[in-house]
């Protein structure tokens, strides 16, 4: 014990002496045999894990507290370029987000390869694998941008509006004119999900589904009455087969099997806020990760880390951060999409 104390004292003096040349790296003493930078990266990631866990647990608690919750395989069933139309029923549940996960896994693997090449002091190898990692990260961000844009502009989900609802009992929809619909698609069961559409977005096409026909007729009725969709009086307007709410959403009316009349209700408000906040916070991590990856790639290419002769430790540190981003996605993917 006594010798150890003297050793530490000696080291502290040593540090003071060399502070200007070495920078703040914690000196020669290595707690846990890891460098100062790596150690602090681990503890930063631990604290970040608590932040994410706090958000995801809040999501869980709120989801548990609601009688219904939007069904993810219904909400996330579209893909860019109309690719979801190639799937049965024109819906591709979870397919696009699975592709997003795939991109993050690939970029995580290329990151491990970059770290390995760094240990071999192979500069070109590090640059090659890091560029691939940047491409993977940027690809993920582009996919997320599309996903958000689609949710906001086409499905009209917002942080205070959740147009994804769930039926609590079985029943049949009315048509726009108030007559009960006879189309098979217009009957629903308990637990079925629906998306409340906005007025003024329907087009007449061949082979319209029952819902598209309804929307087209509803839009025609709204125009016929000379209603300005952007300026609807408070409380909304009542139609025979639907309710036009003040924000322009068309809430279909239906009759439940119990004989009671009902109208499509909005889903829990918390859903939109939680979705945009948590995936946004993760996306921001990916975004800053990509920026740091680019900076470090440029530094590697310029030969900055060759002089340090520490096996490209900087690449290892950004690697830890990048794997963490992938790790968080495992859980975001779990709670938002899979469960």
């Amino acid at each position: 014990m006594a010798t150890e104390t003297t050793l530490i004292e000696h080291d502290e003096m040593h540090d003071e002496h060399h502070e200007y040349q070495q920078g703040w790296d914690g000196g020669e003493e290595k707690p846990f045999k890891a460098s100062y930078g790596k150690l602090m990266m681990w503890y930063f990631l631990l604290s970040d894990a608590f932040t994410f866990a706090g958000f995801l647990i809040a999501y869980g608690a709120l989801r548990f507290s609601m009688p219904t919750w939007p069904v993810p395989d219904f909400v996330f069933s579209t893909a860019p370029f109309g690719l979801h139309k190639l799937f049965p029923g024109e819906s591709a549940p979870l397919i696009f987000v699975t592709f997003m996960s795939f991109l993050l896994i690939v970029s995580s693997v290329t990151m491990v390869r970059a770290v390995q090449e760094g240990h071999r002091e192979n500069k070109n190898g590090v640059v090659f694998w890091m560029v691939l990692t940047v491409i993977g990260g940027a690809g993920f961000l582009s996919c997320q941008a599309w996903e958000w844009a689609n949710l906001i502009t086409h499905e009209h989900m917002g942080i205070r509006t959740d147009p994804f609802g769930t039926h609590t009992e079985e029943g049949t929809y009315y048509m726009a004119n108030g007559q009960p619909s006879s189309a098979a698609e217009d009957t629903f069961e308990e637990g079925d999900s629906y998306l409340i559409h906005t007025a003024g977005h329907s087009e007449q096409t061949d082979n319209m589904t029952a819902e598209q026909t309804f929307l087209y007729e509803a839009d025609a009725m709204i125009t016929q009455r000379g209603i300005d969709v952007d300026n609807i009086p408070e409380g909304g307007i009542d139609f025979p087969g639907f309710r036009l709410d003040e924000k322009g959403f068309i809430q279909r009316k239906f009759v439940a099997s119990s004989g009671e009349a009902g109208v499509q209700e909005f889903g829990p408000k918390a859903f939109g806020a939680l979705f945009f906040f948590i995936t946004g916070f993760h996306g921001f991590h990916v975004f800053s990760g990509v920026l740091f990856l680019i900076i470090i790639t440029v530094n590697v290419a310029s030969g900055l880390y060759v002089q340090r002769k520490n096996g490209y430790e900087m690449v290892e540190k950004i690697g830890l951060y990048w794997h963490f981003v992938d790790l968080v996605w495992v859980f975001v993917f779990l709670v938002f999409y899979l469960l």
Binding site: K33, F64, S65, I105, S108, V109, V112, V330, L338
Partner: protein, 140 residues
């Protein structure tokens, strides 16, 4: 990892890629199966949905462990570092139990309030509950 030769380490990494990819695909298939997208008739079986959820959670934890131990090399760090990172994270287990319980309680309470709000006053019953004299005497 350092005990492996370069070629072996490379193989190790690509094996990791396939593991993560296959586990993710299996998760998606289980999730879609549990929701009745693959065989429609199973959608209403509650125990199956719960079993699917449990399997998916298990697989996700496996993926997380794999990333932390293999890709982030926590497995090859010294025990002290490993403990100082993983032990605090174990606090989350209680956070999950407590907050999910709390969320459930919010739902129960909300339903209880809704029930009470919709409750009809039973005139005859109320007359029997309180004696008229008590109503007059009670000054709060």
């Amino acid at each position: 990892m350092s005990h492996l030769s370069y070629e072996d380490a490379k193989k190790h990494v690509f094996r990791g890629f396939w593991i993560l990819l296959v586990v993710t695909l299996v998760e998606v298939v289980i999730s879609l199966f549990g929701k009745g997208h693959i065989i429609e008739s199973v959608a209403n079986l509650r125990w199956l949905v719960a079993l699917a959820a449990l399997l998916i959670v298990g697989l996700s934890i496996y993926k997380a462990k794999f990333i932390i131990y293999e890709f982030m090399h926590l497995g090859s760090e010294v025990k002290g570092l490993r403990t100082s990172v993983l032990l605090p994270a174990a606090l989350l287990i209680w956070a999950i139990i407590a907050f999910f319980q709390e969320g459930n309680a919010w739902k129960d309470r909300r339903e209880q309030i809704k029930d009470k709000n919709e409750m009809q006053v039973d005139e005859a019953g109320q007359q029997g509950m309180l004696l008229e004299k008590e109503i007059y005497d009670w000054k709060g």
